[in-house]
Amino acid sequence: METLLLYALFGLFAALAIGCAIAVVVQRNPLYSAISLIGVFIALAAHYIMLAAPFIAAVQIIVYAGAIMVLVVFVIMLLNVEEAEHRPARLRFLVPTAILLAAVLFAEAAFVIYSVGDSPYSSLDTSAPPVGLTSSIGISLFTEYLLPFEITSILLLMAIVGAITLARQASISELRRAAAVTITGDNAEAETSGFQSAKSNEITPVRTGAIN
């Protein structure tokens, strides 16, 4: 009974994930693609919960669905690109080749799954404690994986600086003035004005789109 329920849940969320993933590719409107992608993320979070990894599931929702996709939706709304993609003609004669290669790929994947045969049905080492809880992740993150953690934080810092540089388009004098402010204040101010300058510059296409 419980196993049946587990399989039913797996089927449900796998179908949701695959369906939404296909919709991401098939939809012409980027906003529809974005919403479908959020569906994929939520389905995968459900899979993570079923794999006894609740922390990763929660972070998946917070980071992917709550932060990254909000930014994407924000940019799509800001740029207001609704026009359907025009498909270039050069793709036409590539379609049969693509189908052929896809068939080869499917055959290959089917062979791999077939030849691997029995995969484990449950955890290999059932005596070990489960690993998905917050404390176990925190402990390894700050002991064994401390160096990757620090490198990731430097990566994030670089991303902040890069995003501000791209969004700002400021003159040298403005940058000098901003450099005089303290570091925290600098980031905050630059990010804020980045938002505003992005808005004020992009308002024109938004308006014309609304009128059309």
Partner: protein, 100 residues
């Protein structure tokens, strides 16, 4: 429990759809989203292995992949906005020369 191979198969399907999307799509934001889809399918395999081998490393790698994805989103969307400002288009074929 669900067999491990099922998760791997699901992940492979998602990855293929994402890769196909990157090749088919011409809209920069849509391509970006397909890349996110591929990253997510890889995350699924990591979590599945981590759960089956009772080893926390897989989940930590997922954690770091998510951070990289967040950084990628910030910079990538900044680049997309900069391209759109200069070209009034999100089509990647329009942005084929190496300057803005």
């Amino acid at each position: 429990m669900i067999p491990l191979a099922w998760y791997l198969a699901l992940s492979a399907v998602l990855f293929t759809i994402g890769a196909a999307g990157v090749l088919i799509k011409r809209n920069a934001i849509a391509m970006f989203m397909c890349i996110e889809l591929m990253l997510n399918s890889v995350n699924l395999t990591f979590v599945a292995f981590s759960s089956f081998f009772r080893d926390v490393s897989g989940q930590l790698i997922v954690f770091i992949v998510m951070t990289v994805a967040a950084a990628e989103a910030a910079v990538g969307l900044g680049i997309i906005i900069a391209i759109f400002r200069n070209r009034e288009s999100l089509d990647v074929d329009d942005a084929s020369i190496l300057k803005l």
